[in-house]
C-alpha cells in the first residue's frame, strides 16, 4: 500500500477486513501477512482479551489496583506491534498491554505493575519496551528521543510510540511531533483513537475532523486506519515503519477504534455514554471478524476456538498468581533505586523506617 493514497483531508482510511470477515481490499494486505500468521495474531488477540478480563477479575477481588482495560482495542494493539523487528522500540501509554506482551514483556510483570509494584516495570534486559506512562502524552517525547538516538547511532530501527486521542491535545504531543519532523527521527506515532478521553468524546477533543491530519502541521504523512481491523492496522503500520526505517521520517497513524469497557476500573461510563451507543459499536469489535475469516478459510474450528480460550484462562490465572508471589514487600525498595548510590540522608531515612517497623510504638528515637 501507498501511504500517500490515504490523504486524511480526502477522508480515505485504510480498511482491509470488514466486520463480516470479508477481505474488501486484497491488494492492501501485505504479502508477509499470510493466513497462518493471521491465525497467530488472532491467537495473541485472544490472549490479550483473556488477560484483560483476568485483570478486571483481579481488580474486583481487590487483588489489583486501578486498571485500564484494552477491551475492543486488540487489533490496534496487536496489529501495530506485530510489524516490529528486532531492535525496534515500543513506547507505550497505559492501554497497550497487547503490544507490550507481543514485544516480550511477560504478563506477570504487567500484572505486577497494576498490582502496585515498581518491579512490574523492571523488564528483561533484551526487551525494548519503555515502562507504562501515566501522564498522558509525555511519553511521546521519550519515543522521539529514542528514535533520534537510533538514527545517530546509524541503527535501522524504528520506535513505535503509542498514545490516545486525548493525548493529541497535549503540548508534549505537539512538541514531539515537531521534533520528529525537524530531526526526521525514525518513529511511528500510533494514536489509538478509542473515541473517548475518560468521559470526553473525540468531538470535544479537537475541531479537526480527523486526528491523522494533524501530521500536516509537522510536514510528514498522517493516515487513518480502521483500528478494529487487524489487517488494516498491520498494513498501515508496516508501511509507516518501512517509511521511517528507510530514513524518510516519521508517520502518524490514527487507528480508529472504540473503547468497549470503562476508562479504568474506577470509571462509570454509564454517566456519559448510552447503552445504545455501546451496543451499536459491538458488531465492529476486532475479534469476530478475524474469527469469521479464519473459519471461512477452515483455519479455525469451534473446538480449537474453545480450547484456546480455556487454555488462556488457565494461563493468565497462573501469571496472576506468579505476579502476586513475585512482588517483594521490602521497604528498602522505597529508597534503593533513586540514585546509583544511596545518599546518606536516604540511608538514614531507611534506617528510621526499619526502626519504626521494629518498634512497638514505644521507641524514643525520632526521624531526624
Amino acid at each position: 500500500m501507498n501511504l500517500a493514497e490515504y490523504d486524511p483531508l480526502r477522508g480515505r482510511r485504510v480498511e482491509v477486513l470488514d466486520f463480516t470477515g470479508n477481505i474488501i481490499a486484497p491488494d492492501v494486505r501485505p504479502d508477509d501477512l499470510s493466513d497462518d500468521y493471521l491465525l497467530d495474531l488472532y491467537d495473541r488477540m485472544v490472549f490479550l482479551r483473556v488477560a484483560d478480563q483476568q485483570a478486571l477479575t483481579l481488580q474486583r477481588a481487590g487483588r489489583m489496583g486501578t486498571y485500564a482495560p484494552t477491551l475492543g482495542q486488540e487489533a490496534a494493539n496487536i496489529g501495530s506491534a506485530a510489524v516490529l523487528q528486532e531492535g525496534d522500540w515500543v513506547v507505550p501509554s497505559f492501554r497497550e498491554m497487547g503490544a507490550m506482551l507481543l514485544r516480550g514483556v511477560p504478563l506477570q510483570l504487567i500484572y505486577m505493575y497494576w498490582m502496585g509494584s515498581e518491579w512490574g516495570s523492571h523488564f528483561p534486559e533484551n526487551v525494548r519496551v519503555l515502562p507504562i506512562c501515566a501522564p498522558v502524552g509525555t511519553q511521546t517525547l521519550h519515543g522521539v528521543g529514542l528514535a533520534w538516538a537510533a538514527k545517530l547511532k546509524g541503527e535501522q530501527t524504528v520506535t513505535l510510540i503509542y498514545f490516545g486521542d486525548g493525548a493529541t491535545s497535549k503540548g508534549d504531543f505537539h512538541e514531539a511531533m515537531n521534533f520528529a519532523g525537524v530531526f526526521q527521527t525514525p518513529c511511528v506515532f500510533f494514536c489509538q483513537n478509542n473515541q473517548y478521553s475518560i468521559s470526553v468524546p473525540r468531538s470535544t477533543q479537537t475541531a479537526a475532523p480527523t486526528l491523522a491530519q494533524k501530521a500536516i502541521a509537522y510536514g510528514f504523512p498522517g493516515v487513518m486506519v480502521d483500528g478494529n481491523d487487524i489487517l488494516a492496522v498491520y498494513a498501515a503500520t508496516k508501511e509507516a515503519a518501512a517509511h521511517a526505517r528507510s530514513g524518510r521520517g516519521p508517520v502518524l497513524i490514527e487507528a480508529q477504534t472504540y473503547r468497549l469497557g470503562p476508562h479504568t476500573t474506577a470509571d462509570d461510563p454509564s454517566r456519559y455514554r448510552s447503552a445504545e451507543e455501546l451496543k451499536a459499536q459491538e458488531p465492529y469489535e476486532p475479534l469476530p471478524r478475524v474469527r469469521l475469516y479464519l473459519e471461512k478459510k477452515g483455519l479455525l474450528t469451534p473446538a480449537a476456538e474453545t480450547e484456546r480460550w480455556e487454555r488462556y484462562q488457565t494461563l493468565v490465572k497462573e501469571e496472576a498468581k506468579k505476579a502476586e508471589a513475585a512482588i517483594p514487600l521490602r521497604p528498602d525498595d522505597i529508597f534503593d533505586y533513586h540514585y546509583a548510590t544511596l545518599p546518606p540522608y536516604l540511608a538514614h531515612q531507611k534506617d528510621y523506617l526499619h526502626r519504626i517497623l521494629a518498634s512497638s510504638g514505644e521507641g524514643t528515637d525520632g526521624q531526624a
Binding site: 489496583g65 486501578t66 505493575y113 497494576w114 498490582m115 502496585g116 509494584s117 515498581e118 507504562i132 501515566a134 501522564p135 498522558v136 502524552g137 486525548g166 493525548a167 491535545s169 497535549k170 503540548g171 508534549d172 478521553s197 475518560i198 468521559s199 470526553v200 470535544t204 477533543q205 479537537t206 474506577a266 470509571d267 454517566r271 456519559y272 512482588i327 514487600l329 521490602r330 521497604p331 525498595d333 522505597i334 529508597f335 533513586h338 540522608y345 536516604l346 531515612q349 523506617l353 519504626i356 517497623l357 518498634s359 510504638g361 521507641g363 524514643t364 528515637d365 525520632g366 526521624q367 531526624a368
Partner: protein
C-alpha cells in the same frame, strides 16, 4: 443540618457560589458530564449549563492558561487539575503568569481565580496519582494556597477562595474526600483564608499539620494523652500566606513542636515552619523541633505505599521524643 463528606461540601460550596455569582465558570477534564472523577462537580453542568461547567480537551496548561484569559475577560474561572501529579504541566502558566499578573501590571490586571486540585496519597491510586507538592506552590510569590481538612472547613474556605480578588490554589486531600462526615450548613458562611485553627488544645507540645495529616496528628495526640502529654494540634488550613502567628503563639506556650506533612522531607513546608519558629520563638524552644514527613522518595506504588505515609504511630514517637528531650 445535613451531614456531608468533603466532596459533598465542596459541591455545595460551588453550587451556592455559582448561583450567587454568575461570573464563576468551572472548567477542566471530565468536570461536566461526568461530574469530575471524584464527583466534586457532580450535577453542576445539569444545573448551570455547559457554558459554565465546561469539559475541556486534555491539556493542563490550556486549562489554566485560558482560565487566566477568562479572568482577564471578567469571569471568575475555577479550573480543575484532575490530580496533583498532573499539575507540573500547568506550572509554567502558574509560575510565569497566574502568580504575576497583578504585580507585572502594577494592579492594572488582576486574576480572581481558584485552581482546584485533588492531592495526596493514601488511596492506593496508580502512579502519579498520589503527589503532594504543596511546597512548590508555597514558594511562589503572588499565590494563595489553601488546604482544608474537614468538610465544614472545605466549604467555608472554598467560598472564601471564590470571593478572593487574587488567584488561589485550592488543594483537596482526596484521602479524606469521603472519609469523614460532619454537619455542614447550607447558605452563607466563610472561613477567612490565612487563619490556622487549633483543633485540639494542649500545653506540652505543638503539632502542626494540614490536609489529611490533621487527622493523623489528632490521633497521635490521643495516643499520647494517656501518658499525660497534652498535645496542641494546629490545622494550618492556608499554607500561603501562612498564619505563623498562631503557631508561634502555641510554641511560646509549649516550647516544643512537631511538624507533620506527607510530602517528601527535604524542602518540604515543615522546613519553612521550623525556620519561622526558630526565628520568632528561639528562646522559647525547650527542644529541637521535629518533623514527621514522607520520605525523600517518589511516593511508592500501592504495595509499598503504606510504608511511606506518616501515621499516628510515627507522629506519637516524635511527640514523645520532643517532650522527653
Amino acid at each position: 443540618m445535613a451531614k456531608l463528606n468533603m466532596v459533598e461540601a465542596l459541591n455545595l460550596a460551588l453550587k451556592e457560589e455559582m448561583s450567587r455569582d454568575e461570573r464563576i465558570i468551572l472548567l477542566g477534564e471530565d468536570v461536566g458530564r461526568l461530574g469530575g472523577v471524584f464527583r466534586v462537580t457532580d450535577g453542576l453542568q445539569a444545573l448551570f449549563g455547559p457554558n459554565r461547567v465546561v469539559d475541556t480537551p486534555l491539556a493542563e496548561a490550556a486549562i489554566v492558561g485560558t482560565a487566566l484569559g477568562l479572568a482577564l475577560g471578567g469571569f471568575k474561572p475555577v479550573p480543575e487539575i484532575q490530580f496533583m501529579g498532573f499539575l507540573p504541566a500547568a506550572l509554567d502558566q502558574i509560575i510565569c503568569h497566574v502568580s504575576r499578573y497583578r504585580n507585572r501590571s502594577r494592579g492594572r490586571y488582576t486574576l480572581p481565580m481558584v485552581i482546584r486540585l485533588p492531592y495526596g496519597a493514601g488511596i492506593h491510586a496508580p502512579e502519579h496519582h498520589s503527589e503532594s507538592t504543596e511546597a512548590i506552590l508555597a514558594h511562589l510569590p503572588g499565590l494563595k494556597v489553601v488546604i482544608p481538612s474537614t468538610p465544614y472547613d472545605a466549604k467555608g474556605l472554598l467560598v472564601s477562595a471564590l470571593r478572593d480578588p487574587d488567584p488561589v490554589v485550592f488543594l483537596e486531600p482526596k484521602r479524606i474526600y469521603r472519609a469523614v462526615r460532619e454537619e455542614v450548613p447550607e447558605g452563607d458562611y466563610t472561613i477567612p483564608l490565612s487563619t490556622a485553627k487549633i483543633v485540639r488544645a494542649g500545653d506540652a507540645v505543638t503539632v502542626v499539620a494540614w490536609g489529611s495529616m490533621v487527622r493523623e496528628a489528632v490521633r497521635a495526640a490521643e495516643l499520647v494523652a494517656p501518658e499525660g502529654i497534652a498535645a496542641e494540634v494546629i490545622d494550618l488550613r492556608t499554607i500561603a500566606p501562612m498564619d505563623d502567628e498562631t503557631i508561634v503563639a502555641s510554641i511560646r506556650k509549649t516550647g516544643r513542636g512537631v511538624i507533620v506533612h506527607e510530602a517528601c522531607r527535604t524542602g518540604g513546608l515543615a522546613a519553612e515552619i521550623m525556620a519561622r519558629i526558630q526565628e520568632k520563638a528561639f528562646l522559647s524552644l525547650a527542644a529541637p523541633l521535629e518533623r514527621v514527613t514522607g520520605f525523600d522518595t517518589i511516593v511508592p506504588l500501592l504495595k509499598l505505599e503504606d510504608y511511606y505515609l506518616p501515621d499516628p504511630h510515627r507522629i506519637s514517637r516524635a511527640i514523645r521524643k520532643v517532650v522527653r528531650f
